[in-house]
């Protein structure tokens, strides 16, 4: 997960004074190879940063130095790996970077199942009214309240369930984006009047389940337990829960895996109450702050 990995290490492609430019084809392929492995790259040019400045937060500097590899230190005075890649292939240059990383764990696009896909809500502050509906809705503690001004913020992005855009569906202002979603306006595309109208006319998700979603879940759970005691079939109880959640999944485009991973109805109720308490406290604090501002 993201907390256990280092930020994208920065590689400097140095083509300033004291070095020769790379072949354009090699440069293109090297850039793509590094980016697709999760590295950030800065290209330093003549007239741009000095080598020392360009490498201030870098961990590797690559360039065609003609064999005269310079000593370079970062902003903290630590030596930076500098490699002459004048005679290297792209694969060899990438291998030098990987070697310099010395096994420090990093999130990588090419790591298969170990990759963390950066999927989380992004708030359009120009549209958000801090109604806190998303905070009340999310069961995974993604949202929080900024202590300074009591506004909504995305506090724990890594808690978000990949490919689940459900909270954006409950936002009445179309203010929640998921930049990696496949369609607008959730992907960040401009919001049209039609989008706003659709949100205002949106069917209440809980109504789709016949009223209070929590009550419905409890009821279904009780029914399933009852049947389980009679039929002694865990499979039947699971199937019942899935049927109960099908409409919710369809209405809010929630991936089935997310619904299957939901906690028990009792735990959902506890978390919802906690989220609602936080949202109410934030609204009160904002109203209080607004009132004080008006009085003064």
């Amino acid at each position: 997960m993201i907390a256990a990995t280092v930020p994208p290490p920065r590689v400097v492609l140095y083509e300033g004074a004291g070095s020769a430019p790379l072949d354009p084809d090699v440069r293109t392929r090297l850039l793509a190879a590094l980016l697709d492995r999760g590295y950030a790259v800065t290209r330093a040019m003549p007239g741009g940063a000095r080598r020392e400045e360009a490498s201030s937060s870098a961990f590797v500097v690559l360039g065609r130095f003609g064999g005269a590899v310079p000593d370079v230190h970062d902003a903290a005075g630590r030596p930076v790996h500098v490699h002459d890649i004048g005679m290297s292939t792209v694969d060899e240059a990438v291998a030098l970077v990987e070697e310099a990383r010395a096994g420090r764990p990093m999130n990588r696009p090419d790591a298969g199942a170990a990759t963390w896909k950066p999927w989380f809500p992004v708030i359009d502050t120009a549209r958000c009214t801090n109604c806190m509906q998303c905070l009340s809705f999310c069961l995974f503690d993604v949202y929080g309240v900024a202590p300074a001004d009591h506004t909504l913020r995305v506090e724990n992005p890594a808690n978000c369930k990949v490919n689940c855009p459900a909270c954006s569906r409950v936002c009445p202002e179309v203010a929640i984006m998921f930049p990696k979603y496949h369609a607008g306006p959730i992907d960040g595309a401009p919001v049209s009047e039609a989008d706003v109208h659709r949100e205002k006319m949106k069917v209440d998700i809980s109504a789709l389940l016949g009223g209070d979603i929590l009550a419905k879940l409890r009821e279904r759970s009780a029914e399933a337990k009852s049947r389980f005691s009679k039929e002694r079939s865990a499979d039947a109880a699971l199937a019942e829960r899935r049927r109960c959640l099908t409409k919710l999944a369809d209405a809010a485009a929630i991936p089935r895996e997310v619904l299957d991973a939901l906690p028990t109805p009792e735990e959902i109720e506890r978390r919802t109450a906690e989220a609602a308490r936080k949202a109410a406290a934030a609204r009160d604090a904002r109203e209080h702050a607004t009132g004080r501002a008006v009085q003064s």
Binding site: P8, L31, L35, R37, G47, A49, P109, G188
Partner: protein
Amino acid sequence: MGETAGATPRVLYCRCAYAQVVPGDVKDAVLDGLARSSVAFEMVPDLCEMAARRDGQLADIARAVDPARPLHIVACWPRAVRGLFHLADARLPDAGVEILNMRAETAGDLLARVGLDVGSGTGATPPEAPA
């Protein structure tokens, strides 16, 4: 090391490496156009990932924006990009930043808006000659 200082990136390119929502041919062609130019640039694997980490590089980039030397961010929808910087506690100013959208524009249009002539036989040329 006699070059003039000026570490501010003029072009920030996002590879959107963790998803397939940006057309691959567009992001590859933009990368190639930038790589063949003689402009300095900053390239990151994924702005979303950096925002989730509240990576200090985003704050550095936002702080260094200079309306006299516009910063071109080649990524996705402007609304999303501004939101990502905000999430990273790095508010982008309105002036001096142009956000170019690889989800909705062609590579040729994007490179032209950065000021690169993609039609020349020698590849792209810089918007201004280095000092």
